[in-house]
């Protein structure tokens, strides 16, 4: 009995990858963990930064000669806008605090007025009672009662 297997490129790639990865994993991790690797990275970084610094200087010099704004100058303008926006934000925050304070004060004032109103109502009520009491003849037992009654009838 014969068995035919078709060629599958993807399975082959996967197998190659898995075998390579498992074979090299430890060796690569060992290398990455070595101090000498960090030193090499540092050297590459240094060269790259030297090149980049040179490009930055050249670009800046060219822009200056061409009377064009440099990246720094444009960034300064952006910073000014950000500062203004920051101040607006601060003002908004202060307005919020002010709003809270104002509404708290108004609320306290309203309560105070309500209390005053109630007190005034009481005072008026007491005054009314006192006036009524003054104008109303005193009704008591005994001879005074008769006198009072006579006085009332005389007035009529």
């Amino acid at each position: 009995m014969t068995q035919t297997t078709s060629f599958d490129a993807f399975t082959m790639w996967k197998n190659v990858y898995e075998k390579t990865e498992s074979t090299w994993r430890d060796a690569i991790q060992d290398t990455l963990g070595k101090e000498s690797f960090a030193e090499s990275l540092g050297q590459i970084q240094s060269q790259y930064l030297q090149y980049q610094g040179f490009v930055n200087k050249m670009t800046e010099s060219y822009l200056k000669q061409a009377n064009m704004p440099s990246r720094d100058e444009i960034a300064n303008v952006a910073s000014l806008v950000i500062n203004v926006e920051s101040k607006v934000d601060d003002l908004e925050d202060q307005m919020d605090v002010y709003k809270i304070d104002t509404s708290r004060e108004i609320e306290q004032l309203r309560k105070g007025l309500n209390n005053l109103d109630k007190k005034l109502d009481k005072v008026i009520e007491l005054l009314n009672k006192s006036i009524v009491a003054q104008n109303t003849p005193k009704v008591t037992d005994g001879p005074l009662t008769t006198t009072a009654l006579n006085a009332t009838s005389t007035k009529k």
């Binding site: 993807f10 990865e21 090299w24 610094g53 720094d72 950000i82 926006e85 920051s86």
Partner: protein
């Protein structure tokens, strides 16, 4: 006269187009070169505050909020905001909002050259407190839950330690490095003797994403560079897999520059001097003491994470004063803690339940 019989050649060509390998190659080429990128960050949101390039979003404002404690999410400075809202059905934000949580996210925006002087201090003292205040004001809540991812979590922990008087009820950190004593290969590569930090920042201003990405890929070069394409070739006929692959690639390759001064501080104070865990870090002149953290803490660590190693995450739980603190370890990687099947089925529901339990 010579006649050429091309019938056999035509047949071979016809058979070739039906060949499984050829079809796979065709699809693989399409996915890598011509397919549209998936649309990310689709959960509806509104902007409630802006500052410089930053925006504060509130998600799904139309959905009724059944949980009274709002959640503010803070992510790493080199990512884009959609990483926590990757795709419908594969989004932590969507999951939480659908469960009735009031979710906010502080989008850092893309820094320009004018932002190269922004320090971590500026983000922690000028941006996060304002965002917290806006969230509390918008939600009319008394407490807040903070959720930080990766470096965003480290910044959130620092903020929580600096402002113990704020009503921070819960603190959730996802793969956020705190102790940099052993940061794996980074500890070696960022060695002060070889890594020219000052020269790098002074020359470049902001640090390009490609440089950060190069370092991340170098941690495991073969599996990070070749591995994804082997997986794609193997399962290119599975459309669900292809979608997830594209999402993962978009996340990994779609970063933003690191503001120069923040990078200088991040590398020097954290990777080189390990100040945070040792209570030596100062932010705008104020000492950061992690023991000031009293909020309920959920600290999530991923075992296969080679960017924020488990040993960098766990020590926080020993430093904080929180009575309720959990170290949750998941068998996954740095990105798949937020996105992918395991995140959808296990991690998102776990976080949602923890927040609900601790928000009553």
């Amino acid at each position: 006269m010579v006649t050429l019989d091309t019938k056999q050649f035509d047949n071979w060509i016809d058979r070739l187009s039906e060949d499984k390998n050829i079809q796979q190659i065709k699809r693989l080429t399409e996915v890598i070169s011509s397919d549209a990128e998936p649309e990310v960050g689709q959960t509806p949101k509104e902007v409630i505050w802006t500052k410089n390039k930053s925006k504060l979003y509130r998600y799904q404002p139309a959905i009724k909020k059944t949980n009274k404690v709002p959640i503010l999410m803070i992510y790493a400075l080199i990512n884009k905001p959609y990483i926590l809202d990757l795709y419908p059905g594969n989004s932590l934000i969507e999951h939480l909002t659908n469960k009735g949580h009031d979710v906010y996210l502080l989008d850092w925006g893309t820094p320009g050259y004018e932002d190269r002087n922004m320090k971590l201090d500026d983000y922690i003292v000028d941006y996060i407190p304002r965002a917290v205040s806006k969230v509390l004001k918008t939600s009319k809540a008394k407490d807040i839950t903070l959720l930080g991812y990766c470096m965003g979590g480290t910044m959130t922990a620092i903020f929580t330690a600096l402002y113990p008087q704020l009503p921070i009820r819960n603190l959730i950190l996802m793969t956020s490095p705190i102790d940099f004593k052993d940061a794996g290969h980074y500890s070696n590569w960022l060695d002060k003797r070889y890594f020219q930090l000052d020269k790098l920042v002074d020359t470049l201003g902001n640090i390009p994403f490609e440089l950060i990405d190069f370092g991340n890929k170098l941690l495991n070069p073969i599996s990070n560079v070749v591995g994804p394409y082997i997986s794609l070739a193997d399962r290119v006929e599975n459309e669900d897999f292809v979608l997830n692959w594209k999402l993962m690639q978009k996340w990994l390759n779609d970063g933003i520059p690191f503001p120069g001064e923040s990078y200088r501080q991040w590398i020097r104070d954290f990777y080189q001097d390990n100040k945070l865990i040792n209570d030596q870090l100062t932010v705008r002149g104020r000492k950061v003491e992690l023991a000031n953290i009293k909020a309920n803490l959920l600290n999530i660590s991923a075992t296969r994470d080679n960017i924020a190693l488990p040993q960098q995450i766990a020590p926080l739980n020993d430093k904080v004063s929180s009575k309720n603190k959990t170290l949750h370890i998941v068998e996954t990687g740095h990105v798949s803690v937020v996105t992918g099947r395991k995140a959808i089925n296990e991690i998102h529901p776990y976080i949602e339940k923890w927040i609900t339990d601790n928000s009553k």
